[in-house]
Point group: C2
Chain length 171, copies 2
């Protein structure tokens, strides 16, 4: 799909068809996400790609019962790796860069899914400790859950605040 | 440009031609960035689009003399708006969502620039207080500087850690 079309058509999808995602598409999302830039190329993030029904059910529960998470055939969970970034950059790595590395990677996954005709929804509200337990992670920090699947409804892009409210040009 | 090509070809550019960016291209980057998703659609971020030579020189200085910043014809500066997000989401909005909103927006800008044949480089190392002063901002937090221009050198994508180190599939 053409880049601008991906950006312009993408919007949150919270309802998925009961249809598997082809494994090549999952591999494409993973390999494109792997190209995300990161501070010092440390790639201070990790991703869990969850297809297991029981784990998806637990994730939905950890996300305050957002049940569409368990309906998605694949759920990506993004973790920041603060200590990896702190080892080179100290507190700025721990508090900013690692979180950005993981956030940029999740953005790449979200857009890659859209480019493949899949829908997703960025979920930020969840119990961090529960998500860590579900994925068997101790020292990393979960920063986003991204359920991905074929959209059940086409939905529509939400509107945005006027550009002039957020963008300031200084000539 | 095709989406996957943008992702696969994009890499950091730290050397720019002395060539203006067409204003339509800057407007396209802005309007595509404006479509970035955000927690609760609050869009808790602001962007300064800086063309002024003196301000670019000051930004390069605030970024510990990364002089390629002032060589770029346009420099985007992304700020998180923690209080905007905190007004609905409390500390999670202040500490996580607003930072993610701004980071997702910067990722959209970086990729949009690449799709238009422009180069950029995500800069994270700078003195926050100096950047705030240069942009005349008080309560927002700078999270990235993105110089954009026509690439002087073609460069090459950097390598990444093996996928299996970062991605864990749970079936």
């Amino acid at each position: 799909m053409e880049f601008q079309e991906v950006i312009q058509r993408r919007h949150s999808i919270r309802s998925f068809l009961e249809k598997e995602i082809e494994s090549e598409k999952i591999e494409t999302i993973i390999s494109l996400t792997n190209l995300a830039p990161s501070a010092g190329n440390l790639q201070a993030y990790e991703v869990f790609v969850i297809k297991n029904e029981e784990l998806k059910r637990k994730l939905a529960s950890a996300a305050y019962s957002q049940s569409f998470i368990q309906e998605a055939p694949v759920v990506f969970v993004f973790f920041a790796d603060p200590e990896r970034s702190a080892s080179r950059y100290g507190s700025r790595g721990r508090q900013l860069y690692s979180l950005q590395d993981a956030t940029i990677a999740c953005t790449f996954a979200m857009l890659s899914a859209a480019a493949l005709g899949l829908g997703s929804c960025w979920v930020g509200a969840f119990n961090d400790e529960e998500v860590k337990r579900i994925c068997g992670v101790k020292k990393k920090v979960p920063i986003a859950i991204l359920p991905v699947g074929y959209p059940k409804e086409s939905g529509y892009p939400t509107s945005r605040r006027p550009i002039a409210e957020k963008f300031h040009v200084l000539e």
